[in-house]
């Protein structure tokens, strides 16, 4: 085992030579350093991106606190180091370290990585290598940490199957504690049977996926024949975890407050988990079902304690569609009333067009600035929105923006996707018409000409465990061509063009994301080749190299008889075994297929919170149920408690 001593003395000598050294020193407010010897199960948690992105991550923050609250368990954090630091660490033999007490990651029992996106895979390899942990699971010894993947990307961990020892899908709060107990018992017994035994004990629960215990058989045409356990006692399928009562898990209680500047600096409270709006492109909405609301009083308590613990000046009410909380009006009003004096701003990151109302918007901006409003119609044409089941009509949108412009807003931002299944040039060009209609309405109701509308477009990437998991992805060239036509159309509009901002990304990063999202174990060779060629920080435009990814794919994939197109632009059939079929998100594969057919027929599906169940399969399969209000309770002013 790597010695557990702090590497800070060696690190300190490097800090004057790197950019933003503060990101490597730890010492954040509300961070925890527990005595090493007082704990028998030790976790190193990583968000595999730069500190400024990783530190505010809610998932890592929650698990860090949940684990550290436990007697005899400690958790420390580590993030990806920038290339300037990586170079110095290699030169001076400083291993990947935790920022809390600067211990080598290799000294911990578990090295848990949270993947919000697949673009963190190369950063995981960098961290493993810097930590001195063998890159491949099969080469690790008894003293190496158990390398664990979690987060949304872990719902298809096959591309990183050879690099991780195990994966957990779904909610992590209870899962990490259950894993801790298994590891603790195994260690207390003197680690019988070595690594294989502890991984087997984890796998047997049916809740931890150990890729090494499954063999993948391929058909002659390159498709997967089947995935079979290679060890008796290992279940055929692994289930996701679901935490039912959010009020029992009021985390983070003491959010970390960094000294360095990070991407989000606010007191974030997850007001509900899950979403059943049923947007067919949305992996998050599909894999986090059912909807489970935090109560209005639970939210109020978390905000109050969190603000006291952090001193943040903004509260973020997080969820996949925050205006859908059954008591969102009361919550926003209650919080705005409470914090009028303290100049605390409120933000609602995800607001649906049809759930927006001006009273809510006014509450949100009461104590803070009135910036822009953001909505996501996602599809430009009515037809497209039926395909993706984003049940928002153009009339809804125009009515909403009219209200907003009429109440003093001057700026509206609209998000769309390009490359959705069945999409044509005409569907995308209608985004331009929609923007024009928004500006026209804005000028009409406000009587002013300085109205702006920004159109922001991302490329659609089909994701596992969604109805679009079978869909062909649009090639980078076609995506770019379509967006160019739209750009020319907007720029060519003499009357409105100058009021419309147009922001889009080229199609190339989407292809790499597509390869990693729906990839199987053979894609691991590509990831490794890219890492070895110097690929890092793939989520960063300045570091991402499409050409490197394609060159590495051409070197590695042909020996398997497949290529990048096979993974991305190829449509799958009903019979095909998908790489993630043995990971159970609760969604019935037949229901997903029906929903995919409904998409092609432009048939919409309602939200099961307000209409009868449509049998997506999650609740019976996972033994869960929808949990929503209203509770009828109110947020009281806090004059006494202060």
């Amino acid at each position: 085992m790597t010695a557990a001593e702090s590497v800070f003395p060696q690190l300190e000598a490097l800090l004057p030579h790197v950019q933003k050294p503060i990101q490597y020193v730890g010492g954040e407010l509300n961070s925890t350093v527990k005595p090493w010897e007082s704990c028998d199960v030790r976790w190193a948690l990583m968000y595999p991106d730069a500190y400024e992105v990783g530190l505010p991550n809610q998932g890592v923050m929650i698990l860090y606190e949940v684990l550290n609250e436990r007697e005899g368990v400690l958790a420390e954090r580590t993030y990806s180091v920038w290339p300037d630091m990586e170079e110095l660490m290699r030169e001076h033999h400083v291993p990947q370290f935790t920022v809390d007490s600067h211990r080598p990651v290799g000294a911990f029992d578990v090295f848990g990585l949270s993947f919000s996106t697949e673009l963190g895979y190369t950063n995981m390899l960098t961290a493993l290598d810097l930590a001195g942990i063998p890159l491949e699971s099969k080469n690790r010894g008894i003293d190496d940490p158990i390398v664990l993947a979690g987060g949304h990307a872990a719902f298809n961990p096959e591309p990183i199957a050879e690099f991780i020892d195990c994966a957990v899908i779904g909610d992590g709060e209870q899962a990490v504690l259950d894993m801790t107990e298994i590891i603790r018992a195994w260690k207390a017994e003197g680690r019988p049977g070595g690594r294989e035994e502890v991984l087997f004990r984890l796998a047997k629960t049916g809740n931890v996926y150990v890729p090494g215990f499954y063999d993948v058989e391929y058909l002659p045409d390159g498709r997967i024949g089947r995935v079979v356990p290679n060890k008796s006692g290992v279940p055929w399928r692994v289930s996701k975890h679901t935490v039912m009562d959010l009020d029992e898990w009021p985390y983070p209680k003491q959010p970390l407050v960094p000294l360095a500047e990070t991407v989000h600096e606010r007191m974030s409270v997850e007001i509900f988990r899950g979403c059943t709006r049923g947007c067919r492109f949305c992996q998050a909405g599909m894999i986090t079902r059912p909807v489970r609301e935090r109560s209005i009083t639970g939210i109020g308590e978390m905000v109050e304690k969190g603000l006291k613990a952090t001193g943040f000046e903004e509260v973020g009410l997080l969820s996949l569609s925050s205006a859908d909380h059954t008591e969102i009006g009361e919550i926003a009003k209650g919080l705005a009333d409470r914090y009028t004096e303290d100049k605390i701003g409120l933000s609602l990151p995800s607001t649906r067009v049809d759930a927006f109302n001006v009273d809510l918007a006014n509450e949100l901006t009461r104590n803070g600035r009135r910036s822009g409003l953001t909505f996501a119609p996602e599809g430009g044409s009515e037809r497209m929105r039926k395909v993706i089941n984003k049940m928002v009509s153009e009339e809804d949108l125009i009515r909403t923006v009219a209200t907003a412009y009429g109440n003093g807003w001057r700026q509206v931002k609209l998000y769309f996707m390009c490359g959705l299944p069945t999409e044509t040039d005409e569907d995308v060009l209608q985004i331009g018409d929609m923007a024009v209609n928004v500006i026209a309405k804005g000028r009409e109701v406000s009587g002013q000409n300085d109205i702006r509308c920004t159109v922001s477009i991302g490329g659609f990437v089909p994701k596992p465990h969604t109805p679009f998991q079978w869909a062909p992805q649009l090639s980078a060239e076609q995506t770019d061509a379509r967006l160019e036509k739209l750009r020319d159309k907007i720029r060519g509009d003499k009357k409105y063009g100058r009021s419309i901002g147009f922001r889009y990304h080229d199609g190339k990063p989407g292809i790499v994301e597509g390869l990693l999202s729906r990839g199987d174990r053979r894609v691991g060779a590509v990831i490794r080749a890219v890492y070895e060629d110097g690929g890092r920080f793939d989520g960063w435009r300045e570091h991402f190299s499409y050409d490197r990814w394609m060159a590495c794919a051409e070197k590695t994939l042909p020996s398997y008889g497949v290529d990048v197109d096979w993974y991305t632009t190829r449509e799958r059939t009903y019979e095909e075994v998908l790489p993630w079929d043995h990971l159970d998100s609760g969604l019935d594969k037949d229901w997903l297929w029906e929903d995919w057919q409904d998409a092609l027929d432009e048939t919409e599906v309602e939200d099961c919170r307000w209409t009868p169940c449509f049998d997506c399969g999650v609740c019976p399969q996972m033994d869960t149920h929808i949990q929503i209000g209203p509770t009828g309770k109110k947020l009281l002013p806090l004059t006494v408690v202060k």
Binding site: A13, I22, Y24, G27, L259, E261, E265, G311, F312, E313
Partner: protein
């Protein structure tokens, strides 16, 4: 409005806090400590805090100063404790006085720095210091926003000496301490610049980066060659007896409108 002047530190690993980072951390600490801050007017009101002369990122400090404006009266000692508890360890508040004089910034005319040079023999450091002090000017270059800039470091240096480290150190590893008194001039001469000068003049090249700490900041006293406590005039200007502040008065007065 009450103004309070604070002295704070940047210690240990938190010396890598940049000034911008410190500002954010301090403003959050003000909120956590529920300090009744005065806010600037305007579209985005900011709490009124004036920072003076912050030490560069990566250098430690025992003597940083700032001033805050409050809408309600607070006892400086209580405020010190509250704020210190609200800041991470290493960013510590070490002094607080109510402002009774003008121009704190005008009283910060020089700094005393300590530079710990691991791996450098005291004798070598002494020779370099001697050469430095003997020179009329010591020109160095530093990269600034406007490109490389050449300037003199000797003129701002009011004192420089090489000392052996504290007795508790192992004797087998050489180490020298430089004690530097530098006047705040324009362009500002930083400890780094003096080290560059020592390297250029006498080839003094520490094998590891020097650990630099600001020990004191204040009005330069020509006679003693050192600096005076910049908060002393505020303390001296305080009335002899503890002031009958609003808090004490209202505690004894019955409720209702004041007489």
């Amino acid at each position: 409005m009450q103004r309070i002047r604070l002295r704070y530190t940047k210690r240990g690993r938190l010396r890598f806090t940049s000034h911008r980072d410190f500002q954010r951390a301090f403003e959050r600490a003000l909120r956590r400590a529920e300090v009744p801050m005065a806010y600037s007017a305007g579209f985005t009101p900011h709490p009124k805090v004036s920072y003076a002369n912050a030490a560069p990122t990566g250098t430690g400090s025992e003597a940083e100063y700032l001033e805050i404006a409050l809408t309600e009266h607070r006892d400086p000692a209580t405020l010190l404790t509250l704020l210190d508890e609200s800041l991470p360890t290493g960013l510590d508040i070490t002094d607080a006085v109510e402002a009774r004089t003008s121009g704190l910034a005008d009283r910060l005319t020089a700094s005393i720095w300590e530079m710990r040079l691991e791996g450098v023999a005291v004798g070598d450091a002494e020779k370099a210091v001697e050469a430095f002090l003997a020179a009329e000017t010591v020109e160095v270059q530093r990269r600034t926003k406007n490109g490389m800039r050449t300037f003199d470091t000797r003129g701002a240096v009011a004192g420089l000496e090489a000392l052996p480290p504290q007795a508790d150190r192992p004797v087998d590893k050489p180490c020298a301490i430089l004690r530097l008194v530098v006047r705040h001039l324009t362009p500002a001469v930083r400890p780094d610049d003096v080290l560059s000068g020592l390297r250029a003049l006498a080839d003094l090249a520490p094998p590891v980066p020097a650990a630099v700490t600001r020990l004191a900041q204040g009005l330069f006293d020509e006679e003693s060659g050192t600096v005076t406590d910049p908060l002393a005039p505020d303390r001296e200007a305080a009335p002899a007896a503890p002031p009958k502040a609003a808090g004490t008065a209202s505690a004894t007065a019955p409720e209702g409108p004041a007489a």
